[in-house]
Symmetry: C2
Subunit: 157 residues, 2 copies
Amino acid sequence: MRRIADVLGVQAAAIYWHFANKQTLIAAVGDAILADQADWGDSMALEEWARDLRDVLLRHRDAAELVAASLAVGLCEHAPEVGAVAILEAQGWQPDDAGHAASAMVHFILGHVMQEQTRQNLLAVGVLAPPTEAIDEDGFEFGLQILVSGARALAAR
Amino acid sequence: MRRIADVLGVQAAAIYWHFANKQTLIAAVGDAILADQADWGDSMALEEWARDLRDVLLRHRDAAELVAASLAVGLCEHAPEVGAVAILEAQGWQPDDAGHAASAMVHFILGHVMQEQTRQNLLAVGVLAPPTEAIDEDGFEFGLQILVSGARALAAR
DNA sequence: ACCTGAACACCGTTCAAGT
DNA sequence: ACCTGAACACCGTTCAAGT
């Protein structure tokens, strides 16, 4: 809180005029990150939605943790899964099933990016040796294919 | 640290003889929780492994967050995904693919339980109204079926 | 309406010194 | 080998008071 206030050229106490507490501020930051998500409507493929969410998260430092906190307090303005729900419902899914499938994908994406970003942080602090390979594209794509194939299998049922 | 020391009847500083810092201690707690996982070998079904991991996490308060921290610092003694990897390799999967599939499932399970446990915490503090329904078995089972079906689909390929 | 000053009740961590 | 006492440099948060 004091560091944020510093950057704004203000006292830390001033923040509490605008936000109830630190947790609420963090949730707002997570929500702001999610506002970057693409919004092409139902014609998008599930893979495109997933890759877009991952890319949005990877663009901002600690985004996965911030968004997880945002989700935890509930009431985010820009829920990450709405795009996936829209796509699935356009394909004839029941709302409940679409919600469950979408949140399974969100959990996977958040978990994957969180792992990626904690590794980036450890690497930045020097706790981790740099020879670790760049970024786990393969692991993400493989997991994504499992989820998309599984969703297709359940839809066909 | 001071509260843990209190429970042990000791000064907070004493903890630093046994652990390098708070993060390491938390990781050790997460690791201890994972030691509760069942270990029936390769004959277990993927669903059984997944439900067992979920049950282990739900048995301990904040387990998902603790285990996530444990995973973040790396080097956990009891990696949560080893069971799934063993099952998949016994079914003829490549080690790399088995690892990717297993960590996709771990991400899903951790994400799901974390959501459940933050809701439990908000409920305990009274921030959330109690009329929220008990526990999201349906959402977990649906997501699990997607992942298992998807894994079967990719294995058949 | 928005911010400051000053305080309150905490933190994690270090380190000389004890036994 | 294991712990204490005491301190250091921080935290998030509150609240009267200012403008």
